[in-house]
């Protein structure tokens, strides 16, 4: 996996795209949980969302590096 990707001729860290993907992922999870009323199984929704985002971002980072 290349560690940098050329974005408009500027080399940016691939981790930036990991960040964007994790953001989209957490939006999707949020939508699903709301759609199927799963938030009743969650203690603090905000804490849950933050932890889910951190997990996805860290996984993408570990995959890249």
């Amino acid at each position: 996996m290349p560690r940098e990707i050329a974005l408009l001729d500027a080399l940016v860290p691939t981790l930036l795209f990991g960040f964007l993907a994790a953001s989209c992922g957490s939006l999707i999870i949020d939508w699903l949980l709301t759609r199927y009323h799963l938030y009743r199984y969650i203690w603090y929704p905000a804490l849950f969302r933050l932890a889910a985002f951190a997990c996805m971002f860290a996984l993408s980072g570990l995959w890249i590096y």
Binding site: E4, F48, L50, A51, A52, G61, Y65
Partner: protein, 290 residues
């Protein structure tokens, strides 16, 4: 479902995820910060500056820019007329000294045979010494001839290594001065990589650890290993002034930037089709054995 178990489920799902996030976050931190890799690597090569060993006009340039040359190939030639004349001149000098030597030897021999009644002892000793001196003069002329021949041979400038001509700026008609570099040859077999690692990453690797090198220019991964560490870098915070006094820059107490230490990486093999250019940027990742 009673209230307590519902509460437990809610708590455990959230807390599990939080703990997973903390563990993964720490793993990423360690991987990124505490593993020996750097984005700041450079491909380097030995570059030989080619300068003529004699003065003179450049008569011909045998190579083109960026051409591959073998060791011993002619690069350019300096006008040899002066040096040919010098050889002829010194040959004549050698001849003359040789004749003189024969003459002086003959004299010395004759005088040695004549007894003290005819010539003085002083005269006899002197003629022997004059012959020895003539011999020395003859030797000096021979050395001058060797020098003239050497200069003549050095009018043809040859490549000392296999490699590529670079930055060829010399043209026929230029005046080549002794010792002034006219072109550079990049040694084909000398490519290596300098990884500029942050200070705190130096302790994480050892000499001999395998390394992988990723160039910006290609997706191919080069293999290498750590050859050595630089044992000195400039102290940029303490330049001395004209009176040799210290001039210490005030530094920030909180934020300190880690300096970079050059680590030399030997390339184990270079793929045949890969174009390596001295000065290329690359990422260096060292995999510590222990």
């Amino acid at each position: 479902m009673n209230d307590l178990s519902k509460k437990l489920i809610r708590l455990s799902i959230t807390l599990t995820l939080v703990i997973a996030a903390i563990i993964l976050g720490r793993m990423l931190w360690v991987r990124y910060m505490d593993s020996p890799w750097t984005r700041d690597g450079r491909v380097r090569a030995d570059i030989v500056n080619i300068a003529p060993d004699v003065n003179g006009l450049v008569t011909s340039v045998a190579v083109r820019d960026n051409q591959f040359v073998h060791r011993g190939d002619v690069l350019f030639t300096v006008d040899a007329e002066h040096y040919k004349t010098a050889v002829a001149q010194t040959k004549a000098l050698v001849e003359q000294r040789k004749v003189e030597l024969t003459m002086k030897r003959g004299q010395a021999k004759r005088r040695a045979e004549i007894d003290d009644q005819v010539i003085s002892q002083e005269n006899r000793e002197d003629s022997s010494l004059i012959a020895t001196s003539a011999r020395a003069e003859y030797d000096a002329a021979m050395a001058e001839l060797d020098l003239a021949k050497l200069n003549l041979s050095r009018t043809v400038v040859r490549s000392p290594v296999d490699g590529w001509v670079s930055n060829l700026l010399v043209r026929p008609g230029d005046f080549a001065q002794i010792g002034a570099p006219k072109l550079a040859v990049i040694d084909q077999h000398s490519f290596w990589v300098y990884g500029y690692f942050e200070e705190h990453k130096l302790a994480l690797m050892q000499i001999g650890d395998p390394a992988e090198i990723r160039l910006i220019s290609s997706n191919q991964i080069l293999k290498g290993h750590v050859e050595s560490f630089a044992r000195g870098i400039t102290d940029r915070d303490n330049p001395t002034d004209v009176r040799l006094l210290a001039n210490v820059n005030p530094s920030f107490n909180w934020v300190r930037l880690s300096q970079r230490i050059p680590v030399r990486i030997t390339l184990d093999e270079i793929p045949k089709n890969m174009i390596l250019v001295a000065g290329m940027t690359c990422t260096v990742i060292v995999h510590p054995k222990s």
